[in-house]
Symmetry: C2
Subunit: 751 residues, 2 copies
Amino acid sequence: MAKVSEHVLLQFAPLIYVAWADGELTRDEITRIHDQLERVKSAGAETAAVAARWLNPDRPPSASDLQELLKLMRKAAKARSRKNGSRASLLKLGRELAGQKDAEELPSELAALAEVERALALDGTDALHAILGRDEPAGVEQRVTFSSIELNRFLDGERAATRRQLFEIMRNPAFQIDPRLSTPAYRERVLAAVHLLADQGIGATAFPPELGGNGAVARSITAFETLAFGDLSVLVKYGVHFGLFCGSIYQLGTTFHHEEFLPAVMRLELPGCFAMTESGHGSNVREIETTATYDPVSQEFVIHTPRPEARKDYIGNAAQHGRMATVFAQLRIGDEEHGVHAFLVPIRNEKLEALPGVMLEDCGEKTGLHGVDNGRIRFDHVRIPRTNLLNRFADVSEDGTYSSVIANPGRRFFTMLGTLVAGRISIGCASVSVSKTALTIALRYTAQRRQFGPSAAAEVPVLSYLTMQRSLLPHLALTIALDAALEQLVQRFAAGADLREVETDAAGLKAFASTHNLNTLQAAREACGGAGFMQVMRVGQLRADADIFTTFEGANPVLLQLVAKALLGGLREQFGEMRFIGFARYLGARASTAVAELNPLITRKSDPEHLRDPEFHTSALRYREHRLLTTAARRMKSRIDHGTDSFDALNEVQDHVVALAQAHVERSIIEAFDRKLAQCGDPTLLAVLRPLRALAGLHLLERDRAWFLEAGYFEPAKAKALREEVNRLCQELAPHAVSIVDSFGIPDFLA
Amino acid sequence: MAKVSEHVLLQFAPLIYVAWADGELTRDEITRIHDQLERVKSAGAETAAVAARWLNPDRPPSASDLQELLKLMRKAAKARSRKNGSRASLLKLGRELAGQKDAEELPSELAALAEVERALALDGTDALHAILGRDEPAGVEQRVTFSSIELNRFLDGERAATRRQLFEIMRNPAFQIDPRLSTPAYRERVLAAVHLLADQGIGATAFPPELGGNGAVARSITAFETLAFGDLSVLVKYGVHFGLFCGSIYQLGTTFHHEEFLPAVMRLELPGCFAMTESGHGSNVREIETTATYDPVSQEFVIHTPRPEARKDYIGNAAQHGRMATVFAQLRIGDEEHGVHAFLVPIRNEKLEALPGVMLEDCGEKTGLHGVDNGRIRFDHVRIPRTNLLNRFADVSEDGTYSSVIANPGRRFFTMLGTLVAGRISIGCASVSVSKTALTIALRYTAQRRQFGPSAAAEVPVLSYLTMQRSLLPHLALTIALDAALEQLVQRFAAGADLREVETDAAGLKAFASTHNLNTLQAAREACGGAGFMQVMRVGQLRADADIFTTFEGANPVLLQLVAKALLGGLREQFGEMRFIGFARYLGARASTAVAELNPLITRKSDPEHLRDPEFHTSALRYREHRLLTTAARRMKSRIDHGTDSFDALNEVQDHVVALAQAHVERSIIEAFDRKLAQCGDPTLLAVLRPLRALAGLHLLERDRAWFLEAGYFEPAKAKALREEVNRLCQELAPHAVSIVDSFGIPDFLA
């Protein structure tokens, strides 16, 4: 066999290398190249030798042969300053590397080979990169274009001081709890942490100074929201005692209860429960069955569980630590039924033994929140003093005369429940905190974790991949939007805004935020791969604990229907009622509203500037809400007019009214983001906040684009353009992801 | 005040009752009724007395007053056999109850009052129901129209015997493990259960009789699938040892390894690990960094961990029980690199102490699968005999000569990995089992759990609600479809079908099934409300454990991209490679395929018969797959032709290719369901299987209807009709839900 000179070998080296290196060519394909190379007549013995030596399908070159070839080519490329440029034939490249002057022109005898090369698609940029390396780095690297501290200051706003205070407390090792502790040990650790919060006066924040608090409702919710960056069992145990138990005494009780019970309760000397839910009745609170019968002789209420399904169930603090409970029961005086009222019922003595007539049971192991002692309570004719009725809205005199400041029983019931709206707001806020933690963990991880990459180049951060960006960045944008919406709701609530509107928004935002949070946690876990399954990464544990947020303080599907009903009734109805007698009078007004004509220019417009325009998003979201409202009202009204009862009518269009509620919440979230943005004057922050706002809005439109297409609001081409714009926004934001999550300000000991 | 006769009272009783009973009317509205009633001139003193007594906004009737009124009306209705019929004015009803002959005609003096009644929408069916009760029961009650035993026989098919065998074994208390046990105790319990399976010969099922097995590959996967109804730590520990470790020795080794190691391995006397993943490389296996360097002097391989990130990580059995590991490492002989090969490396002695040079570490607590001991392994120049190379596909002679039956290194690598496809199939099957458990629990619960209901009627099962049906029943239909698809894949795999196709389907179905499973578990948990959070309900624990199914045996987004690449390459390419050199030659062929013209009749057709037609679903799903394939090929090809390298080109259209893979999997699932259905001859079963099949197909079309709208394949009206048809199918299937899940045949001790 003829000896092959380096010069000749170099001419064919790129083709040979690519043919073998990546193992993509079949035996047949290599034979084709080989045959063509042998046929190159004028090439002479050397070329034939190259074919025999390097393109013999039965004797492929070894890995080290190929390495040598690669070194040879790179050396030649360096000597001739051949830069990795545009797509080129491998044969041309070879001739260029070999120093052929006419490198740009292939001699005709090589044409057939060039044809093969092209047919096998060996002549692409990949091949050049494989040989010469890639000039520009691939993948997304993180950049710093703004101050995370400034963005944190802007996002947290008035919450900053409370955040700092709580994080300082949470730094205490008492708050670092291993969730795989045995349940008894975990519960004790959690109780100790809540005691620490009580000792620091955190639990009293919301209550007026005369009761030993700070009268700072907003700060109190911020404290809760900040606790949600830590162990969620601590959060929930704290919430049960201070938010629900303490809150119910304050909201539903009067001076007597405040003076008699609150001091010990606020110091956690008298740990308590909020006993509303029964085994048989969760969402449908109005039908609970526990009875409170007044006995005028002894001037006592007799609290009783009439049947097993009427036991109080899933009650936090009931299994172990609670000593008193706010018990919701049907008030009976003689023959009269007065509906659901709240009573303070002692359940355990100081030694934590159950009191006579009180049967306490542990709910047993749960699938999350292992540090919270949920239990069941049954009452066997337990007697409590008349004064233990929490009598802010209704009272029973010594002789058994019932009186109420609210004549209508339905209205009274919902007024009572309405005072507890802070709980729902708080769960929404806590959900946002958990999402922030999940995103902080996942985006830091995916920005540094590298996997795969272009040929002959380093692996790239997995956040470089479009599907990864799409799985995390819209959640990031929505989390920030939600945070703004809840921040503003808390401000309105603290400022005493119309309670009906606050209740509607609280229900909608709680439902949205808790579902959004689970989606975010799942995306975060999967983004972190196997590492995400490790407890130290926290994501899986947070998911297990936060799972129940979609259920407690109101199951999400029920809450969304309440929102829809409030909208259908124009917010004139009392909130929280799922019955509909007389409701049709509101539907009429809604049903007769005209749906705006569509502007064909808008339905087609798809330039990037328009697609990112906040005004386009809010118009679209408003249109959807308005149209869903009008059409839902029409569909329900037409059924009711034809004699269907409202229960069946609602159920037949239930998917429609839930879509309406969802549309309402989403519109309000995006508008809240806009209000927040209007307060920002720092151009470096706006440079990242504007695309985040655009992504939040476009993501919501994209997610429900089927609806907009069905409604004719988007032409198909616009829907496609919208998807592409979401891709572009993701690519644009990816390099800033770590700076953005840094701005959530979560201390290192928590994420 | 005049005394009111029962006769007069009855006339106004319906109006009075509705005005007060449900608390929906405002004070102003009651005043309006009151004023009108007082104005009724001809009615005289008695009517005025009624108004004063019963419609005084300042003195509302008590609850017992209203009860009396209701009793009075119901008695009168009974006496006059007044049936609850269509919508009627309350005044007319009252006159009818009072026995007025001209009940259908209201005297003119009552016209104004009737006007008020209508304006306040008090005259609806709800009001009638509130007073007279509702004739037909509301809500969905379960019916039995077919034999669950027969449906079980049909669905399980050839799997029945293995199911029975495994369930019999799993009845043993050793398999009932409390997941809140401490981690060490849990791990021991799980090990004991796996020992029990080994003792029963279950682990050997797949291996040939000469090695002590049954040679029954399909039965082996069915055994695994059945174990997935139980504790998932047992499943995974069993899978790591028998599927991965034992399987790798069998598939990658030769007679020597089979004879030397398999007997002890199959008896679980030599527990093992499958050490592929490293901290630095999960999905990108080809770049793992552990080295195996051949030393011809001692005729040993030296296994070494060159840097911390090259440690083996998340390895099941490595933290505690594994004594040997199949270690994947880069084979080096002298200067030559031969790529990834598998080696048997002892890691612990009989006392379970780490062997010299082997550093073992516990990964620590995870967020699920607490009974599996995942660990890390580092090697410090650990020497193993030359014969410990698993040498089915490549060998190293005593003098260090490398030889392989597969010349091409890339092909060799993927052939090796391909032998492990059973693991992916098994995880798909296990996901379906978990979904079945979740649906069994959730549908039984929601069929009996009652909450809310129409006015004056019993509460209805929560499965009566459309949103509840929609959250569970499409998952039920898809689970059955997936089960058929995996059953058929297992049969093809066991029958030795083309491995490339099996690998593609396994990757797609594993990704789809594991994601579907998490969605199903979440829907099931939320459907069960607070009860779903209790460990005894299993759903939450299954979710925590099954979470990682989306990641292990291949992260789902990576798997879907591999499916897409296989499709773009027309399945001609070796499976599993994410690099693309030379790939463009396939894209050309794909890109030039014409996309079929749309038939305007089909895009508009929306009658129920058409919408349920299986042929419509498969046509639509095939069209989507074909079009996504063609357009993805075009978009990638155009980028590559313009000099983008394939890495960037793929990443720019990554959402598109993932959608393509998803479309392929969905089409194949629905076709598998059709093939299964074709085997059913029992009309009572077909009566429920056909709507299930329709729901599975329509649900997939509905879920991605945005795509079909964008593509012009659906007109907006059709997309809306499709949603309505999904609603109807849900309503139709809901009464059979419990019978259907009964047919999964899960024993009572498991669900």
